[in-house]
Every structure is written in structure tokens, then in C-alpha cells.
């Protein structure tokens, strides 16, 4: 018995790594398909976009994260864009920091390709249905300036085209012309959006954030400053589940599959902590 305990106590780290890697990769190859319960903050956002934005309406998504949180936030952006495409809502993307603009571009090319492949009867075009504003430094200043004049704030899109020349810009001048905005970020920049865009210009908005930061923003949901929230990979997965339920997209997507992996990963950690502590206690008892 003690031999096993000793062996387990001094086990090579690499076995631990291997167990975790297998636990996370396995669900990708053999999906489990955990059922998903939809939480109110997610369904609120979904319903608002689904019911309250008219056809041809305008949605703004600000991509304010960097690679370190992209795994959680990227699927949210994709799900939101797909939803807007299906409702024929125009989507604008932007980034307050340089990394966000790069990530937003990736998001656009991905969703456009996927959508046009599976919906040949409703082709979406860059510049007509979706666009990405150029990067402008200034963060909260940019948010404020958009309330005065969006065209004057950015001048061009991220591909160097004059905004005035884009069909998607028709009638879009300030926040008044944007029906809904979602900020995707893992940092406190969400607060700047809430304080300036919502506080000063009454922009209707939703939040997409990481699992770590979720707890901070409940207060803003309660106060009504934001009407919906997607939290972490789970939030994204719930949104995808809603899209599938309403036949917007057919197959399970990134976040939903990721959720299986997340589940098995968490269970692995829990088992590690428990086993590690059992060994610790047995050894301590023996030492006494």
C-alpha cells in the first residue's frame, strides 16, 4: 500500500500532463454532447437581437480582447455575427486595441466563408452586410467620439476604404443609428462602454466576457445598464445552442464542443486535487 502511495507521490509530472491532454482532446474526437441549460442573461441577449432589431437594422460588436482570452470570446463573436446574418442585420465590428482589430478580421473572414458556403441563396458581402472600422487609438475617447460622429471618428474601414463609399454605412452616423451593441472583452474596458456609450448616449448594450470577469458585471445586469451577458465558453455554448434550437445553424459549433472538453478538463482537475490530498493525508498520518 505504502509503496503505491509513495509511487503516486513522486509520479513524473509528465503523466499528469498526459492525463489532462487526453481528457481534453477526447471529447473532440468522440463528442459527448452534454445537454445545455440556457441561463437568463444569454436568452435575454438572444431574444433582444432576434425580436427587437428590425430587418436591415444595425448591430455593433467591439472586439476588445487579445489572444490570451480569445478561446472564450471568439466563439461569442462568431455566434453573434451568424445570428445577425440570419436576421439580415448589418454588423459593424471594431477594436479599441490593435490586437482586437486583427482578431475581428479573422472573425469576419471565418464567418463569411462559413455562411456563404451553407447559405448560397443569401450571400453576404464585406462592405454591404458586415464591416470593420479602422483602428484608432484613444479607447474611452473613441467611445465618446462615436456618440458625436462615427464617420469622423474612423474615416476608413480597416481595409483602407473610405467609410462614405460603403453601402453598409447608409444612415449610420451616431449611436442613435445603432440598434444594439455588444462589447466582447476580458478587461475593464467593458466599464468604459457602460459608462460612456450607455450612460451618456443611452446605447442599448450587452456584454460578452470571460468566465473570470463574469462576477464583476452581474451588478450592471441588475441595474439594467446592460440587458444580456455571455460569460465564458459556457455563455458562447448556450448562445450556439439557441441558434441550433431555432434552426439558424445546423451543426454543433466551436463553443458547444469546447464545453464537453471543458467539463472533462474540470473533472480531471478535481480528481487531481482530491487524489493529491488523499496522498498528503495518508503520508502525514504515517509520519505522525
Amino acid at each position: 500500500m505504502m509503496k503505491i502511495i509513495n509511487y503516486l507521490d513522486h509520479i513524473d509530472k509528465r503523466w499528469i500532463y498526459l492525463v489532462l491532454a487526453i481528457a481534453v482532446i477526447f471529447p473532440f474526437l468522440f463528442p459527448i454532447g452534454c445537454p445545455m441549460k440556457i441561463t437568463p442573461p444569454v436568452s435575454n441577449m438572444y431574444n433582444y437581437i432576434n425580436d427587437s432589431i428590425p430587418e436591415g437594422g444595425v448591430m455593433l460588436v467591439s472586439v476588445d480582447y487579445d489572444p490570451s482570452t480569445m478561446a472564450e470570446l471568439h466563439p461569442m463573436g462568431k455566434a453573434l455575427i451568424t445570428h445577425c446574418f440570419s436576421k439580415n442585420i448589418r454588423v459593424f465590428l471594431m477594436g479599441l486595441y490593435p490586437p482586437g482589430v486583427g482578431l475581428a478580421q479573422d472573425m469576419i473572414s471565418n464567418t463569411l466563408e462559413e455562411w456563404n458556403k451553407s447559405n448560397p441563396d443569401n450571400i453576404k458581402i464585406l462592405g454591404n452586410d458586415i464591416s470593420l472600422f479602422a483602428f484608432v487609438p484613444g479607447v474611452s475617447v473613441v467611445i465618446l467620439k462615436m456618440g458625436e460622429d462615427i464617420r469622423g471618428t474612423f474615416n476608413t474601414d480597416a481595409y483602407g476604404n473610405d467609410l462614405d463609399s460603403l453601402p453598409i454605412m447608409a444612415g449610420v452616423n451616431t449611436y442613435n443609428d445603432i440598434d444594439y451593441m455588444v462589447d466582447l472583452a476580458g478587461s475593464s474596458v467593458i466599464l468604459s462602454w457602460i459608462i460612456y456609450a450607455n450612460g451618456r448616449y443611452n446605447q442599448k448594450m450587452g456584454i460578452g466576457t470571460t468566465a473570470v470577469s463574469m462576477a464583476e458585471y452581474y451588478a450592471y445586469l441588475n441595474s439594467g445598464q446592460a440587458n444580456g451577458m455571455l460569460g465564458g465558453l459556457k455563455g458562447a455554448a448556450e448562445y450556439e445552442a439557441l441558434l441550433i434550437k431555432n434552426n439558424v445553424s445546423q451543426d454543433r459549433n466551436q463553443a458547444s464542443i469546447g464545453m464537453d472538453a471543458q467539463s472533462s478538463g474540470h473533472l480531471t482537475y478535481i480528481i487531481f486535487i482530491i487524489v493529491g490530498n488523499i496522498i498528503y493525508f495518508i503520508k502525514r498520518k504515517k509520519e505522525k
Partner: protein, 212 residues
């Protein structure tokens, strides 16, 4: 006199107090002080960063010169640095702004920095696993409490827990929005007061170790 700490202490005192006063006085010239010093701050603080980059590059050029162990990797580092700077300059000349999508600079960012950085951070998932097994011990009441809460939260945040009981996710949310929030508020208030304390000690010159 110039070599002593007198002048720097006076500078800290003056800049600190002026900014605090300017916070309450919108009238010129105070109104613009905060904005000006913020701009200066970002310019000067950037040089601290440049100094670090300079030391790092110097460390590696020296390694190459002396042909120390693994000096070839230092060449890789310098190559990476020069590559992105040159690409950045070329992109700026071609597009007017290196941060435009489609410029070579952003291409390097998207396809090299993004994957490398996120992979680097994801290594932590493995280190946490090994730490969970080897270092996170319920050695006392506090640590036990911490680990139990962590296990509940990890479990409650994934769909499996719903299959066992729908109450588990609700309980997890409650932990996040009630006791977690309370502790966080307390700690934040403490840190805010502590920061005020340290700031005042520095402005008043009681704390001066940073000038060594």
C-alpha cells in the same frame, strides 16, 4: 546636492500634490495639469520599458559575441525583433499605418504572436494540473475552505453538474455573486486605502526606497 535624494523627493512631492490639487480645480491653468502630466507620464514610463528592451537586446548580443551557451537562440531572438520592426516600417510606408488589416505587420501579429502567446498561456493549464496534484494541499482550515470552494465552482460551471442536480449551478452562481463579491469588495476597499496610504507616504517622503 544633485547626487542626493533631495531633488527627486521634491519632484515627487510637487508632482503628487499638484495633481491632487488640480483634481478639484477646473480653472486654468490647473484644469489641464492632469492631462499634461498624464501625457508626460506615458512618455517617460515608456522609456522604462525601452530601457528593459535595451537590456534584453544587449544581453543577447553579448551572448552572441562571447559565443556563450545556446548563443544561436539569441540570434533567433534578435532576428524576430528586427523582422517585425522592419516589416512594421515597410507597412507604415506602404499603407500609411502599420495597424491596417492586411499589412504585413498585422499578418505577423495574427499568425505568429497570437498562436504563440495563446499556446504559451495554455501551458499554464498543464502547470495548474501538476500543481493541483502536487502543491494544492488542505494544510489548514483556510486552504481547505479555498480548495472546497474551488472544486464546487469548477464543478458547477460545467453542464455535467446540471445532470446531477439543477441546484448545483444555481449554488455556484450564488457563491460568485454573494460571498465572492463580498470578499472582493472588502479586499478592494483595503487595497484602495492601502494605495492611498503608500501614495501619501511617498508624496510626503516618508517612503523612499524606490529612489535607491
Amino acid at each position: 546636492m544633485i547626487k542626493g535624494k533631495g531633488i527627486p523627493l521634491a519632484i515627487s512631492f510637487l508632482t503628487g500634490t499638484i495633481i491632487i490639487i488640480a483634481f478639484f480645480i477646473p480653472h486654468a491653468p490647473f484644469g489641464s495639469f492632469e492631462e499634461i502630466s498624464l501625457r508626460w507620464y506615458s512618455i517617460i514610463a515608456g522609456f522604462t520599458m525601452l530601457l528593459g528592451v535595451d537590456s534584453l537586446l544587449r544581453l543577447h548580443t553579448n551572448k552572441i559575441k562571447r559565443k556563450e551557451n545556446h548563443w544561436a537562440y539569441s540570434i533567433v531572438l534578435l532576428f524576430g525583433f528586427l523582422l517585425i520592426v522592419i516589416v512594421g516600417i515597410i507597412s507604415t510606408i506602404r499603407y500609411g499605418n502599420a495597424f491596417l488589416t492586411g499589412s504585413g505587420f498585422m499578418y505577423m501579429y495574427d499568425n505568429m504572436i497570437i498562436p504563440l502567446q495563446s499556446t504559451m498561456f495554455s501551458l499554464l493549464a498543464f502547470f495548474i494540473a501538476s500543481a493541483a496534484y502536487r502543491a494544492f494541499r488542505a494544510r489548514n482550515f483556510d486552504a481547505t475552505l479555498l480548495l472546497i470552494t474551488a472544486i464546487i465552482v469548477m464543478f458547477g460551471r460545467v453542464p455535467i453538474s446540471e445532470m446531477i442536480s439543477p441546484k448545483i449551478p444555481i449554488f455556484t452562481e450564488w457563491i460568485m455573486s454573494v460571498p465572492q463579491m463580498a470578499a472582493k469588495r472588502g479586499i478592494i476597499i483595503g487595497i484602495a486605502l492601502g494605495a492611498i496610504g503608500v501614495s501619501l507616504r511617498i508624496i510626503l517622503g516618508i517612503e523612499r526606497s524606490y529612489l535607491s
